[in-house]
Amino acid sequence: MAGQGPSRRELLQALTLASAASTFSGFSRWSFAFAESSTQHHHGVASPAMVNPVYRPQFFSPSQYRTVDLLAELILPAVPPAVEAASPKPQPGAREAGVAEFIDFMVFSDATLQTPFRDGLQWLDRASAPAADFVSLTAFQQNALLERLAYKAKQQESEKAGQQFFLLFRKYTVMGFYTTRVGLESLDYPGLTFYATSPGCTHAGNPEHAGL
C-alpha cells in the first residue's frame, strides 16, 4: 500500500480500459449495463437485452477461440434434469452462458493472463498429437486427456504445465459461468431479492439438522 503518488495516477491513465471498451463490438451472450449511467433500483428487473448476435473475439484467434469454447463446455456442460437436484428441466452449460466470451474479454483485458492462456492452449494442442489439435480429438480422447490433468490419481509428473493450465482455465470457466443468469439459476441463487422479514430456518425441532 505504500508508494502511492503521482506516478500511480499516470500509470492508471495508461492502464485504463475505457479506450478498449469504446471500440468493443459487444457480447452476444451477456451484456453489462454501465452502472454509472443508471439510477434505477434493480430488484428482479431484467438486465438489458443482449446487443450483438455474433461475438468477435478480442484476444484469441478463431481456432484458439473454438478450443476455449469447447473446453469451457467440457468443464461445465449442459446437463439433464437429474444432475442438479432442484432443477426440473435440462440445465444449459458454459456454451449457452457465453463463458468463452467472458474468458476472451478477461484475457484481453489483463496482460498477465495472456501468456498463460496462450501457452496453455498450445500445450493442449501438442498433448493431442498425433491429432492436429485438441478439437480434432474424439470426445472420448478429449475426456481422457482432461482426466489426466484434473484427477490426482491420474496425473503425470511430466504434465505439470498442463495441470496448471487446467486449473487456471477451470477457474475462469467457473467465474464466467456462475456470474451469469444461467449459472446463478443453476444454483437457485437466493440473494439479491426482496424479503419482507428475515428468512429463518424452517426445521423447527431439529436444530442439529440430522437426517435431512
Binding site: 467472458f102 467465474m175 443468469r181 435431512l212
Partner: protein, 561 residues
C-alpha cells in the same frame, strides 16, 4: 470573513454525531469532508447482478491492482475508497488502510455490529495489571449508549453476559439453518453463540425503512436500512439550518492564534488543490484515528512545535487494531444437497460468538483480555469453494450445487494491546499529491494477539468437530489495518502529561480543540468501535454545548495572531 461556532473535520460516526448535536443545540457548524457527497442510487450497486457489471464484479485489472480490500470493488463507485492521498509505512510494517472519504465515511459500508463496551473493558487494567484504565466507567457511558441505540436502531436480544451489557433492541434477525447447527456445536464446546448486536433495522424505525435482506450490505445500502451518518445524522443537522458542509475539503492543519488556541482549519480543495482557511471558535477533529493524528501532528506552530495539543508527546502513539483472519473453515455435511436458502441476507452478521475468555478470572488463559468470533457461511453469491472439488463435467457441476448450502467459516476479531512500537508519525520527506506531509504508520501484531489467534484456531477446530462439520483448515491473519478498527492515537485520560484529551475528548493543551473519534479510546476490545464512537462523540458534543453556554470558546477572532 465569517467565523463559525465550530469547525468539524470529518462526517463519519464521530463527526456526524458531533455535527448533529451541535447544530441541534443552535451552534453554527462548518463541516469539512475530504471527499464528495455520495449518491446512493448511483454509487452503491449492491442490487446489481454480477452480469450487469463489466467485469462481473471481479473488477478490472486496473481496479484490482489498487483495490484495498473486499469493499473496494466493482460494486461501488471507483472513488468511494481513497486512492489519492498517499501514506507511508515504517520499516517492516504492512498496513492496509481502507479509507472512505465519501460524506459519512466508513459508515456507508460498515459491518454494523454494535455491541456496547463494558466495565470489564473500561477497567481491564485494574483486572489484569496491563496498561491503564479508561478514565470513564460503564455507568458514565451507559446513558449515551442507550440514546445512540434509540437513535440508530439495533437488532439483538437480551443476553445477560458480563462483558456485553444489554440495551434496548429491535427484534433480532432470525437464525438460519447453519446458525442452529453452529449453536448446537458451540453449546457442546461451552462457548456462546448468540444473535449479534446489529445496527440493521428489522422493522420500520423512525422514518427509516426496514432491511429487505438483499445481502451485500457492505457495498452500501441505497435505501438506508442500516445506520450511516448520511442517512441518520446529517439530515437532522441540515434540517436545523445551522450546517454548512464543505465537500472535497481535505483538512491539512488546525490554525492557531497567538496564544496557541485553535482558530480554524486550513484545508486543501481536492478539486483544484488550492488551500482554503475556515475559522471557528472551536475545532473538532474526527477524521478517524490515523488521519486525526496526521492533522494534529502537521499542525505545527511556534506554540506547538511538535504538533497541536501534543505537549505529552502522545499524539499518534498507542495505535491499536483488530486482528482479523479466518481461524477455521470447512463445511456442514448435514446440509449437502439441501435446497438453496438465503443465508447471505444480512451479509453474514446474523450471529456472533462474543468474548468468553478471561471473564471470571482475568488471567485464566495464556493471553490477557479476549477476542470474539463472527461465523459466516451458507449460500453465497459465488461458489468460492470450487477449487476444493476435483474434476470437471457433469459430476463437477453436481458437486458444486450439492456443496452450495454447506460452507462455514469463523472470522476472529482479536484486539492488539497498547505498545510503544505501534504509532504513527509524519514522514520526514514524502508529501502526497496535495503537498501535505504524509502520515507514516508503524505497526506489528503483538505476542498477546498471536496467542489469541492460536487459541481461536483450536476453538474453530473443536467447533467443527462438535457440530458435525468437516474442518478444512484456517487462513492467516490479515495485515494490520484491514479491520478498519484502529484506535488510540489521542488517548483520553486525566493526566495531561500522559494523555492528549481529558475524559470528554477536550484536549488538555488547547481547551477549544476536541477529538471525537476512536483516537481517544485507550485500546481495542473484542467489540467493534462504531457504537462506542457514537456514544463518546455524543458525550463530547454535549459537553461542548455546555462549555459554549458557560461562555467558553467565545474569544477567538479570525485574524487575531
Amino acid at each position: 470573513m465569517q467565523t463559525y461556532d465550530v469547525v468539524v473535520i470529518g462526517t463519519g460516526a464521530g463527526g456526524g454525531m458531533v455535527i448533529k448535536t451541535l447544530c441541534e443545540a443552535g451552534l453554527k457548524v462548518c463541516a469539512l469532508n475530504a471527499g464528495r457527497q455520495a449518491v446512493p442510487a448511483k454509487d452503491f450497486r449492491q442490487h446489481r447482478m454480477p452480469y450487469d457489471l463489466k467485469f462481473r464484479g471481479f473488477g478490472s485489472p486496473a481496479q484490482r491492482a489498487i483495490s484495498i480490500g473486499y469493499m473496494d470493488n466493482e460494486y461501488v463507485a471507483p472513488d468511494a475508497w481513497e486512492h489519492d492521498i498517499a501514506y507511508s509505512t515504517g520499516e517492516g510494517t504492512r498496513w492496509t488502510w481502507p479509507r472512505s472519504n465519501l460524506v459519512g465515511g466508513k459508515t456507508n459500508f460498515w459491518g454494523r455490529s454494535s455491541a456496547r463496551m463494558s466495565e470489564i473493558d473500561f477497567k481491564a487494567a485494574s483486572r489484569d495489571g496491563y496498561d491503564v484504565d479508561w478514565p470513564v466507567s460503564y455507568q458514565d457511558i451507559a446513558p449515551y449508549y442507550t440514546r445512540v441505540e434509540e437513535l440508530i436502531g439495533v437488532a439483538s436480544t437480551v443476553q445477560n453476559r458480563p462483558s456485553n451489557p444489554d440495551g434496548k433492541y429491535l427484534p433480532p434477525i432470525r437464525f438460519r439453518c447453519l446458525d442452529y447447527i453452529l449453536e448446537a456445536g458451540a453449546r457442546k464446546v461451552g462457548v456462546p453463540y448468540l444473535p449479534d448486536r446489529i445496527a440493521q433495522l428489522t422493522q420500520p424505525y423512525q422514518g427509516h425503512p426496514p432491511c429487505h435482506y438483499c445481502g451485500n450490505c457492505t457495498e452500501g445500502c441505497d435505501v438506508g436500512a442500516f445506520f450511516s451518518s448520511p442517512y441518520f445524522l446529517l439530515p437532522l443537522a441540515h434540517a436545523t439550518g445551522n450546517l454548512e458542509l464543505r465537500t472535497n475539503a481535505i483538512a491539512r492543519q488546525v490554525l492557531v492564534d497567538g496564544e496557541g488556541k485553535a482558530k480554524g482549519v486550513a484545508y486543501v480543495d481536492r478539486t483544484n488543490r488550492q488551500e482554503v482557511e475556515v475559522y471557528g471558535r472551536a475545532v473538532v477533529v474526527a477524521a478517524s484515528c490515523i488521519s486525526t493524528a496526521q492533522i494534529m501532528l502537521n499542525s505545527r506552530s511556534p506554540r506547538w512545535p511538535t504538533g497541536i495539543a501534543n505537549s505529552s508527546g502522545q499524539v499518534g502513539r498507542n495505535l491499536c487494531d483488530h486482528m482479523y483472519g479466518t481461524a477455521g473453515f470447512g463445511y456442514l455435511p448435514q446440509l449437502l444437497g439441501q435446497p438453496s436458502f438465503p443465508d447471505n441476507v444480512s451479509a453474514a452478521t446474523v450471529a456472533w460468538l462474543p468474548r468468553w475468555q478471561n471473564l471470571d478470572n482475568p488471567r485464566q488463559e495464556n493471553f490477557i483480555r479476549g477476542y470474539s468470533f463472527y461465523p459466516g457461511g451458507g449460500c453465497d453469491e459465488f461458489p468460492s469453494y470450487y477449487n476444493d472439488i476435483e474434476g470437471f463435467g457433469a459430476s463437477y457441476r453436481a458437486e458444486i450445487k450439492r456443496r452450495y448450502p454447506t460452507p462455514v467459516s469463523f472470522t476472529v476479531q482479536a484486539p492488539s494491546q497498547r505498545s510503544e512500537k505501534n504509532f504513527v508519525d509524519i514522514d520526514p520527506v514524502k508529501k502526497d499529491i496535495f503537498g501535505t506531509p504524509q502520515v507514516r504508520v508503524h505497526f506489528q501484531w503483538d505476542e498477546n494477539t498471536f496467542k489469541m489467534w492460536e487459541h481461536a484456531k483450536q476453538v474453530s477446530e473443536q467447533l467443527f468437530r462438535s457440530m458435525g462439520g468437516v474442518y478444512q483448515g484456517h487462513g492467516e491473519p490479515e495485515s494490520p489495518g484491514w479491520s478498519l478498527h484502529e484506535t488510540g492515537t489521542c488517548r483520553m485520560g486525566n493526566d495531561p502529561k500522559h494523555f492528549v484529551t481529558n475524559r470528554f475528548g477536550q484536549t488538555h493543551d488547547v481547551p477549544n480543540l476536541y477529538v471525537a473519534d476512536a483516537s481517544v479510546f485507550l485500546n481495542c476490545t473484542d467489540k467493534t468501535t462504531t457504537l462506542s464512537i457514537l456514544a463518546f462523540a455524543l458525550r463530547t458534543s454535549e459537553y461542548m454545548t455546555t462549555q459554549f453556554k458557560a461562555g467558553a470558546h467565545t474569544s477567538q477572532a479570525p485574524n487575531q495572531g
